[in-house]
């Protein structure tokens, strides 16, 4: 607590790491690339889970659970999928340890698996193998299933929440009788993600589709939501894939349609992960620490008594108790921090660091005056307000803060989004960060060259892009809409 946080403007990367650490969100574990999500960080993730889960259920999905292990032969069945994930797989080869004659334990060579098991890097393979037995007729469709679980992808360069070898996520896997229904589902879930990002995280997102280069391995189309972080870099916050009949064909999932003919089922999959924690942190936080959207804050309001002696504390406590009840009755998560072992100045800094949206401070003077000091975390402003009626004021204030941090992030994105028409401008602009709207000739080759020269990738082709005749910023070849370029996490 003693040392100040690094400033965003000076060392963005270090600023991020320090917030994750000092706000008690997560830490690196002793296992390479795997994180420990600490209670305060996990409480935020739980709130995300609950909100998303409610939205999934409201759109007709049910949860289920499939095995952690994917037999190697399953992964091989869809070729592109296999290629996409083969290089980052944790592989189980044995099922027993035994005493090492030199002490300790060793892998028992007699307990080698006949077929290696991959820790799921995603579950299309194991789930579509299961769906073969669940889908016989159009009456079994649509099959709308979601799973909350852990995932392992052996990334070489990891970063807390943003890219870790093990992470937590949800993965929806749906099967449909027609192509149109599957595409509709893919788009519906993208919409759910966009709504969650904007209404809960306060994170404005672009909705779009990926270029073929950036598609999920095995998908015909990958939809995504893309957000801008405060360093101007893009972060892919969620994806929704239209898988066509690829997995149905790979795993032989056929159904009898209404015309009494055998047909392969149409698939989607969609996921968001603990990466959203990284997005939340980087989108809103400031040089004082974490800034949490009220809807996801484990503690929405903290009340700190300012007192010199036990009598003062008793008087303040008596005043505060009914307020705690009122706030809790209104569904507000509130903490009264009367811990005597820390000074109030320390507490102020600590709750700022942890992003608690509203802080109330109340001292003996306030008791006399019938006032309370209200501080907002998002603006760091404070004011003295009448104690009477404060609970309804706070309920409204939490909504204001939720809206304000969204609007602030939106304004930031708008300020840092530029339409660019020449390659010189593109190269200059990309150095300043932000999103670039530019024409692209639609070829993988051009995309690759732009990436090589500038480290910028096509984040998405926005769903709401307007048709506009233009020429590719790199090749000059014709193009009919602008796509979004940025450097990305």
């Amino acid at each position: 607590m003693s040392k100040a946080l690094p400033k965003r403007s000076e060392n963005y990367s270090e600023w991020y790491n320090e917030i994750v650490k000092r706000a008690d969100l997560a830490e690196n574990s002793a296992v390479r690339g795997c994180m420990v999500i600490k209670p305060y960080g996990f409480a935020i993730w739980e709130k995300m889970q609950r909100a998303l889960d409610d939205m999934f259920k409201a759109t007709g999905h049910q949860n289920a659970y499939f095995p952690l292990f994917v037999p190697k032969s399953f992964l091989e069945k869809e070729e592109e999928h296999a290629e996409g994930f083969a290089k980052e797989c944790a592989v189980v080869t044995h099922y027993r340890l035994k005493d090492n004659p030199d002490g300790g334990l060793m892998v028992d060579p007699n307990a080698k698996l006949e077929e290696e098991l991959i820790i799921r890097p995603t579950s299309e393979a194991v789930i579509w193998n299961t769906y073969r037995n669940w889908i016989q007729s159009w009456r079994d469709l649509p099959l709308l299933i979601n799973q909350w679980c852990n995932i392992v992808r052996w990334e070489m360069r990891t970063r807390l929440f943003l890219r870790t070898a093990e992470f937590l996520w949800q993965e929806g896997h749906t099967a449909h009788a027609t192509e149109a229904e599957a595409i509709e589902e893919t788009e519906r879930m993208l919409g759910v993600y966009a709504t969650f990002a904007e209404k809960w995280i306060g994170l404005p997102v672009l909705q779009g589709v990926k270029s073929p280069n950036e598609r999920f391995a095995g998908a015909l189309e990958t939809y995504c939501i893309e957000a801008m972080m405060q360093d101007g870099k893009a972060l892919q916050a969620g994806t929704s894939h239209f898988l066509g009949q690829n997995f149905a064909k790979a795993f032989d999932v056929k159904f009898v349609n209404k015309e009494n003919q055998q047909e392969y089922a149409w698939a989607t999959s969609w996921g968001v992960s603990t990466r959203l924690m990284g997005a939340l942190i980087m989108a809103h936080s400031d040089d004082q620490g974490l800034v949490l959207p009220p809807k996801l804050a484990p503690i929405q309001v903290v009340i700190i008594p300012i007192y010199r002696n036990p009598e003062d504390l008793a008087a303040i406590t008596a005043r505060v108790m009914p307020l705690l009840d009122e706030l809790r009755a209104a569904g507000v998560s509130v903490k009264f921090d009367d811990n005597d072992s820390q000074r109030s100045g320390w507490k102020f800094a600590e709750y700022e660091l942890k992003g608690v949206p509203v802080r109330l401070a109340i001292g003996t003077r306030d008791l006399e005056n019938g006032t309370v000091e209200v501080a907002r975390r998002d603006t760091l402003s404070k004011e003295s307000r009448p104690f009477d009626g404060i609970s309804s004021y706070i309920v409204g204030l939490l909504d204001d803060i939720q809206e304000n941090i969204f609007q602030r992030a939106l304004a930031f994105r708008e300020e840092n989004t530029h339409s660019v028409d020449t390659w010189e401008q593109f190269k200059e602009q990309i150095e300043r960060g932000g999103f670039i709207l530019a024409h692209w000739d639609g070829t993988a080759e051009t995309e690759e060259k732009i990436k090589e020269e500038t480290k910028a990738t096509i984040r998405c082709i926005p769903l709401n892009a307007t048709e506009e005749a233009g020429s590719c910023v790199y090749t000059g070849n014709p193009s009919n809409k602008r796509v979004v370029f940025a450097r990305a996490y």
Copy 2:
């Protein structure tokens, strides 16, 4: 649906398997010993999770998440623990696949891990290694953390829910400043489990401690809740371990106590798993299928319209709609099954099979008479009741059913619990199943011999056992209380 279920009395094991399958709770996956938990089964598990999680939080615990992987060297650190789990470990040895020249994929021999990673069979090692950095002072204690996650133990003989290679569970891991506080916590969480089992699952349990033979590997004392299934066998439904300072010593977790001295922290761990699903199924179900306690039923009430033509259905629907609203407002999960493609007889059987606690049937005659047919799943009884006021009747009925299935299971346990004083009686009684209360001389050797001769194990030494002078049922040596013997799952 066509074939009747096997009868409990004829083939208990097959009856269990068929209920799991036909009620759509779970199925075996293509991965040896791993199950797929299907949506209906998972919905029950989610209700268990929610209730338990609320109880953990109400007793001051917070959730967190620790890595899936345990480095082999961590597992080795606590010797008994290592021995207990070494023989059933899934081991990750490589982190990459590559193209096989013969087609498909193969493990990349260049991607061998320096140190093997074990898929967590339980997380004491990885968590206590983390706690070393979290605990410095008595002010950091108690540390009360829980984790919901998947676990892998490479069991050779598996059974859906009861014993699977991968399962879902929660594991609490707490650290305390004193031995007394740690024991208090161990007992508190056993109490939480007992309350959950009895009030939510409707499962009467004995609370006790395990004999040293049956202790968790690394524990000083293992507390457990033990339940009786309908075949008279025992099922361990949850355990709570007092770990002493074993893990603190193995991972060097010291704190400065109030006397300013370095001391090792005191530990507990406690867990319940998807095994509880097996307990739920086997405790209450009957020859018609699953019987669910209302508090854990995904659908508590199903309403089935009995009609011959669309006009009848419309009239019934109009009558039923306000009832659906009333029930939902009262917190009841209700489904109106107006699916036209299945006959009502089929529906009756299907919801019976799935254990829906209350079924309402309403036909045109009922509309005329202002009645509705109410069927209870637990007793399979039905009666015609006035439609007016039916929602409050149902709310009370659900409570009655919850209580009734508990009382029925309790009566069954009482009927099948016998005090036995001679070895001859013991051998006869154990063949008839149930719990045997018998004196035991307290030695591992006697326990082992009894197990060899009868397959009965000591399920627990009940916490509430009365002091009573006696002689060991096997050796005749003195004993001061009776312990519980049974054959077990």
